[in-house]
């Protein structure tokens, strides 16, 4: 098991210590499902951290624990020093893999959804909405409804909705999973851009090794279920990177290392005996 503590200096914004998640059995008498853990991980302020792992290894469960949408069976999850334990912390935004736009609201109202309870002045609300519309390239579609947009644009609406609340930690659960490769690369550029602009910590769950290699400062590789961190890869990219780094030799080296760590686990997750490369 790899300790996910950051090597370089920097205050931990999120910390997970000895975290396990065991789901209750569907029937009485059956053993529970050990989905995740034990996990030890620290996310430092302002970093871009990605998680890759085989299907069903508990990546989304890990994100839900950090978001406070799920409670750890053992161990402690803390955000900015305060334990989460199933309480949704203030300052955390989540973008899900599925389309989470509200179909009855216009793009503007979707983006404003989380602002209502923040009790901001109307001018400040409008400023944030306009900023998010422009950042996500949605200004021309401000009055459109989600059904009138493509899947990628709907996902941008959801990202914009998260951004306007100015979260200090952004959790992305395979947000580009339903998009084609070219759109994913371009959306990756947009995510990097907003990460630089907001200064927030980003925690990305993805099944795409190239996406993780391109976007993240550090990449956590998870084992087959129960998901544990088996490797942490530091990419060493500069902060002003974009999708053009896929041409660099280092990109191939990082992706190859991720696959080397993951191959055996992916075979295990398919229920086949492993064979080392």
């Amino acid at each position: 098991m790899t300790d996910g503590s950051p090597k370089s200096a920097g205050q931990a914004q999120v910390s997970l210590r000895g975290v396990d998640r065991i789901f209750d059995a569907a029937r009485k008498g059956d053993p529970g499902v050990h989905a995740l853990g034990p996990i030890d991980l620290e996310l430092r302020q302002g970093e871009f951290f990605a998680i890759v792992g085989p299907s069903g290894c508990g990546k989304s469960t890990l994100l839900e624990l950090i978001a406070g949408l799920s409670v750890a069976t053992r161990g402690e999850v803390a955000f900015e020093g305060r334990p989460i334990q199933g309480k949704i912390p203030e300052g955390v935004g989540v973008v899900f893999q599925e389309d989470a736009s509200f179909p009855w609201l216009s793009v503007t109202d979707n983006i404003a959804f989380g602002l209502r309870r923040m009790k901001l002045a109307p001018q400040e609300q409008q400023r944030r909405i306009d900023w998010a519309l422009e950042l996500m390239g949605l200004t021309a579609f401000a009055q459109s409804f989600p059904a009138q947009l493509s899947g990628g644009m709907r996902q941008r609406v959801c990202i914009a909705r998260t951004l306007v609340t100015e979260p200090r930690l952004i959790l992305l659960d395979e947000p580009f999973g339903a998009l084609d490769q070219q759109t994913r690369l371009l959306m990756g550029d947009e995510v990097l851009n907003l990460w630089r602009k907001t200064g927030a910590t980003v925690f990305l769950i993805t099944h795409a090794l190239d996406e993780a290699a391109m976007l993240a400062d550090r990449i956590g590789v998870m084992s087959a279920r129960p998901g544990r961190l088996i490797d942490i890869v530091e990419t060493g990219w500069s902060k002003d990177r974009d999708s053009r780094i896929v041409q660099e030799d280092a990109f191939g080296i990082i992706t190859a290392r991720l696959w080397r760590s993951l191959r055996e686990e992916s075979i295990k997750s398919l229920g086949k005996p492993g064979k080392a490369a």
């Binding site: 989540v94 899900f96 989470a100 309870r117 409804f145 059904a147 609340t165």
Partner: protein
């Protein structure tokens, strides 16, 4: 205009024209039914004279009240039922058999409980619609995607705010389906109850006209009820369609 709409209008116009011809040629005698043009003239005369305005207002007011109660109680009842699975599982079979109960048979009991005024009629009208609203609202709430509920939680919303801002708006097209049924049931309940034992309202006036061979009153009132019920349902259906189109479902 779409071909289906044109065909529908043609069918209705053809039906009315056929009745008109059958009445004018004496195939349907004037004691059984008046020709549609006569019914229309009588209806305008009744509305212009205002002699039945009290009855019309009573029925429409009570039907609106029954509909409103069915809608509010139905939607408000569906939310906790959706949250508490054991209660819902207990009540689901009762909802399925609810419309097998002849609620008018309980009229004497309702008079004992609510007295001789409008309350028993409103109660019947509301009770007929409530379950249709509950069942359809539950259907809509069942379809709310889990990711929208997670989004509500991430935005720190409690159960009431989640219902108000997420689950009920999502379920609105399904609630409207229940509302359309509740409109019809409210009219059935109110007019049926007025037929049985009221001393006023359109149901009573239709019954009174019927026993006195007063076709000049009976048919116009029947047509008026038909027009109002169809108009309200059409408005709700248009609203429902607009929501479905907005959501890309039509």
């Amino acid at each position: 205009m779409r071909p289906a709409v044109i065909c529908r209008i043609a069918l209705l116009v053809g039906l009315v024209a056929m009745i008109e011809v059958l009445c004018l040629t004496g195939v349907i005698d004037h004691i059984t039914m008046q020709p549609p043009h006569r019914i229309a003239i009588d209806l305008l005369a009744i509305l212009a004279s205002g002699k039945l305005n009290g009855a019309i207002a009573k029925t429409m007011g009570n039907a609106a009240l029954a509909f409103g109660l069915a809608l509010v109680i139905g939607v408000a009842g569906a939310i906790p039922l959706h949250r508490f699975r054991p209660v819902r599982e207990m009540l689901d079979p009762l909802f399925a058999t609810y419309y097998a109960i002849p609620i008018f048979a309980f009229y004497p009991l309702l008079i004992i409980l609510f007295g001789l005024g409008d309350a028993p009629q409103i109660f019947i009208g509301a009770m007929l619609g409530i379950v249709a609203v509950i069942v359809n609202t539950l259907n809509g709430l069942d379809r709310v995607p889990g990711v929208l509920l997670k989004t509500a939680r991430v935005n720190q919303m409690g159960p009431v705010e989640t219902a108000w801002r997420v689950t009920l708006p999502y379920a609105t097209p399904y609630i409207l389906t229940g509302a359309k049924l509740a409109v019809a049931y409210s009219f059935i309940g109110i007019i049926g109850a007025e037929f049985i034992m009221s001393r006023g309202g359109m149901g009573y006036e239709i019954s009174f006209a019927y026993t006195n061979f007063d076709n000049a009153t009976m048919y116009p009132l029947i047509v008026l009820i038909l027009l109002v019920s169809v108009a309200v349902n059409t408005l709700l259906a248009r609203w429902e369609k607009r929501l479905m189109v907005r959501r890309g479902l039509q």
